[in-house]
Symmetry: C2
Subunit: 135 residues, 2 copies
């Protein structure tokens, strides 16, 4: 019963990830220019954050010349899936109905048209599965 804190991300970590998601690869300097300056934090702080995200395997990096260039290895949706899965794993005991009901509620909450789209995705999933069985 591990807790829900595992892929926990702090505020700055989230912001850095967001930035990499929308702007692609960056080195520490670039992220600092984009985020650090307005926040009034130092270059080093950004660097530590990138390092931490790297250790958490959310970022990959390559040394270009003598500076690392970072890029996200999970996209927003993958991370979301992972985190939702963690919640579900911890809280779904035997019965999955609560989980499924939560999905429907959340989907419908912002826009009921999401229900249609959800149904559509279910069918797409089934088709993909069937195709795989044929091959």
């Amino acid at each position: 019963m591990q807790s829900l804190k595992r892929p926990y991300l702090g505020e700055l970590e989230m912001a850095v990830l967001e930035h990499l998601w929308s702007h692609g690869e960056f080195d520490a300097k670039g992220v600092y220019s984009a985020l650090g300056k307005t926040r009034g934090i130092s270059h080093n702080t950004i660097q530590s954050t990138l390092e931490r995200l790297f250790k958490k395997k959310l970022l990959d990096r390559q040394k270009i010349s003598h500076a690392y260039v970072y890029q996200a290895v999970v996209n927003r949706d993958e991370l979301m899936g992972r985190m939702i899965n963690d919640v579900v794993k911890t809280l779904s005991k035997n019965n999955s109905d609560g989980m499924l009901a939560a999905f429907v509620d959340i989907a419908a909450r912002t826009d009921e048209a999401h229900l249609d789209r959800l149904e559509q995705l279910i069918n797409e999933y089934r088709s993909n599965r069937d195709n795989e069985l044929l091959s």
Copy 2:
């Protein structure tokens, strides 16, 4: 962008909640007998944990004689819904498709029959909505 609040629930907090979910109301002593003894932790630790959960509004309590009796105010599914919603709120940017796809994936992961059930729940949701519109 500030959801995904700090460590949602610790390990002991989760265990206490689980216990209250499956066994109903309890005072500190009861929870201690059930969880504390085998874990070799003190009565006080259990009490602090109950207190913390109370402050987080996950438990309610009434003073019976001079001891508090605690009970959960959210059930497992509600808590799960809340937590999933937090994840989604933080990570769904405009586009909800990733969220919906994650739902389908997670539902199908353990058992593809969940997709049928999910579809069923979608339809139930629609019926309920339609009935409400009539009244």
